[in-house]
Symmetry: C2
Subunit: 489 residues, 2 copies
């Protein structure tokens, strides 16, 4: 079989690429740094979108669409924001091609734009230019708007799903009359992300705020959700920013309060992206291929007949078809693979590779026993189940897989969470991989030095952690609480 | 009231813009030619997407995602294709900004791309470059893939939804082993579009093929769906192209047949866009505002209390809340507008403007009678209905509105469909507006001349029309069937 997957222990990075390739999730395109998301990978992303979109709508958010292009002058209005994004943006300078004298197709220099357009790396600037027209009075607030879109950040070193020049995401942009309300929104979204990632992706996370170094360009405070991959590296899974009045001031967006006073508007922005596909893969998958939580699996159950004669084939597929109908009536996503061009063994590996949570196989013996063989992708275990019990059993097993995947990953996170109290200890623990809780003196200098020496950064300053007096692992200066360090994607 | 709408009879074009502005559908952005789709407008588009996406999936299509950017060299591989799109494309030439000596943010000339990237105006080229990697054997066929995406075609004269530099659409790209199968797919999609536009948008259409002049750049045959707007102009609502082997040849995509022979792959591509929003507005809306078919209405029913005292308010809103719950349990999209900051009259106009299909109002008298007042947006008629009958009545009325809107538009189309047998007659009929069925000699020369004189083009060469001997209205040369002329958007 040509679909051999590198073992995680041999080369984690090649293993990751092998899963993506062989499970048909995505591939590099002919355009540097841009990926093609293949139908199977895209179906998983669509599933994520649909769950998250409902969570946003249930909390009063609405979708809209803003332009792909941002005039350079908008982009430069918020100083920190442009600093953060100018080095990695695609710039449109012309709007026409033409044939030159030798018949070659070239850029038409007569069609040069007066002002260059930036392909959005994020949409704060174009959206706040729009909000200026929409917000006049406190009655227009809050605005709770989300957009599903493609964005472009020019990356020199790209990796499928994790870091691509173009990626898909949602970006929420809200406007409020008070600071408190904007902060509350920022935290509400953080909660939605935590819930979504833990319950739907079955990926356990830690959460908190970012240090100055890691804060979003233009934000007052960045809240984040961090997950831990099987190689011990952290992955930022989502961020929610309290923007203060920075963009309102940059775009002069004021509202008339109930008292008739003109005040600058308060803001939040927040997003998760196709990066979550990377988190999903690197949290659950194994050396046999992709492992998917049932909620996101495009195919939850595959039915495969095992037979020698055509009579057996007829009898078995008839029974399997009945089972399939029962499962479909319960809204379970089932496919029947009755193709006779492939042997059962080949099919077994193929669906294991693709992370289908449950496989139902039926052979001549099973027919006699009125039962089927059920295989769980997560535990690789088999069980014979009576046909009469099948619907309940499958529903329970799908629930169980969703829970077990989370528990397994949670256990992994716990086992790979360390505490360090001096720098020797810290370096050792960082090299083990995982999260390292350590005291930090709160300065960017110390953070930068630690990064230079160990490659670890502060992933988050955890919320809801008790304060604890201590001394910074590097500088020895006093500290009031531990922060979380890790090497990261 | 500031939301005054121009009458259609006074200025159809201003009426169209007024509807879009005052019903909060979309607006021009700070970026030339690019629109912002506002939440209410976007909710209608989301509704369209969800219905059409299901139709695609039910017929075996899957979604995927391909890069936004297309290398110039890909773009130029199919000669007619590049001719068709080169004059209107946004070109990315650089990937970085920098601060110049005076601190100004400018394009970094050191970050010039070796090869320019075109922002996709349509994705045939990048997709066929990808299909080359995916297709080896007949077993890999057919590929039935759709993408929901933004595309850019640089337009000099833009109109919201109808012609914008960036727009949203779906584009299907399929690959087949035989010509017959590709043609069948092209026609199957045409059928889906006809059904979707007539049943969901309630917009009647005619359909057929395009003449050489109007054919998609790179296609062998373009099938199209054409609608008629209230000002008598036609609007192309969707196209489905049989691409022959043109893109397979340009990108060298061959498959090994069952017999082991290498053959070029056959293709189709097809799309509808946010232009459909324009068709929707200009087909149904009236001088009071937007009129929406219930299937697409983000709000299907609005509940409004009419009261003088607080006691009345309490009693009425309690009853309305009960009605609301009943309707919600039937999956009807209901909102309660109980805000006391606006008078009922203001609310009535507002929801009429927004095209909400049904309004339910309840005053003190209605409470006594156990009834409510039901207002239909399409006919502007009112009726008292007993609360006990409400669910059934609303369901029936929503169905009735959906059907009546289609019938009304169908009647309009019929009344504005003319036949012309000589050029004087033809010019007169074209000036009346509407579709004109006339004989044509089949040459581009004649089509171009007719366009120059009358501004009318051939909208479609109808399928399923009986053949009929005649002479071309312009040249007098023989013709075997009538084609459909109209002025168009």
């Amino acid at each position: 079989m040509s679909k051999k997957i590198t073992k995680r222990s041999d080369d984690f990075s090649r293993w990751y690429n092998d899963i993506i390739t062989h499970a048909d999730l995505a591939e590099n395109s002919g355009v540097r740094g841009c990926m093609v998301i293949k139908p199977y990978g895209f179906a998983i992303w669509e599933q994520m979108k649909s769950v998250l979109d409902k969570m946003f709508k249930d909390t009063g958010h609405v979708n809209a669409y803003f332009p792909l292009f941002i005039p350079k002058s908008f982009f430069t209005k918020e100083a920190k924001h442009v600093d953060g994004f100018a080095k990695e943006c695609a710039v449109v300078t012309h709007y026409r091609l033409k044939n030159n004298d030798t018949g070659e197709i070239v850029v038409d220099e007569d069609a040069k734009l007066e002002e260059e357009l930036i392909v959005r790396p994020t949409s704060e600037t174009i959206i706040w230019d729009t909000y200026k027209r929409w917000i006049k009075s406190y009655r227009d607030l809050p605005l709770l708007i989300n957009q599903w879109a493609n964005v472009v950040r020019w990356e020199m070193r790209t990796r499928l799903f994790l870091r691509t020049s173009e990626f898909l995401w949602q970006e929420g942009h809200t406007a409020h009359s008070t600071s408190e309300e904007a902060v509350e929104e920022t935290k509400k979204i953080l909660d939605i992300y935590i819930n979504f990632i833990q319950k739907t992706l079955a990926v356990p996370v830690i959460f908190g705020t970012k240090s100055d170094n890691e804060r979003f360009a233009g934000a007052e405070e960045t809240y984040c959700v961090e997950a831990l991959m099987q190689d011990g590296k952290a992955l930022q899974a989502g961020t929610s920013h309290f923007l203060g009045q920075n963009f309102a001031k940059a775009f002069d967006v004021k509202y008339a309060s109930k008292e008739g006073k003109l005040e600058y508007v308060w803001a939040s922005s927040w997003g998760v992206s196709t990066r979550l596909m990377g988190a999903l893969i690197m949290t659950h998958s194994d050396d046999l291929g992709l492992v998917l939580p049932p909620i996101l699996a495009p195919i939850q159950v595959v039915l495969i007949p095992i037979y020698h004669s055509q009579d057996e084939f007829k009898e078995i597929t008839l029974k399997l078809k009945e089972i399939s109908d029962v499962l479909k009536s319960k809204n379970i996503r089932v496919i029947e693979d009755f193709k006779d061009t492939r042997k059962p063994g080949w099919k077994f590996s193929e669906y294991e590779l693709k992370g289908v949570p449950i496989r139902i196989a039926m052979g001549p013996k099973d027919v006699k026993n009125d039962s089927v063989e059920i295989f769980r992708r997560d535990t690789l275990s088999k069980q014979n189940v009576k046909i009469v019990d099948i619907a309940q059993h499958i529903e329970d097993t799908l629930d169980s897989i969703q829970k077990k995947l989370f528990e397994k990953a949670k256990k992994f996170n716990k086992e790979n969470t360390h505490y360090a109290d001096n720098f020797e200890d810290f370096k050792e623990k960082i090299n083990l991989g995982g999260f390292v809780y350590a005291h930090w003196d709160g300065t960017s200098d110390t953070e930068n030095t630690i990064k230079k020496i160990t490659k670890a950064t502060i992933r988050t300053i955890p919320l809801n952690e008790k304060s604890e007096k201590g001394i910074c692992v590097y500088s020895g200066k006093p500290s009031t609480r531990r922060v979380v360090f890790a090497k990261s994607y």
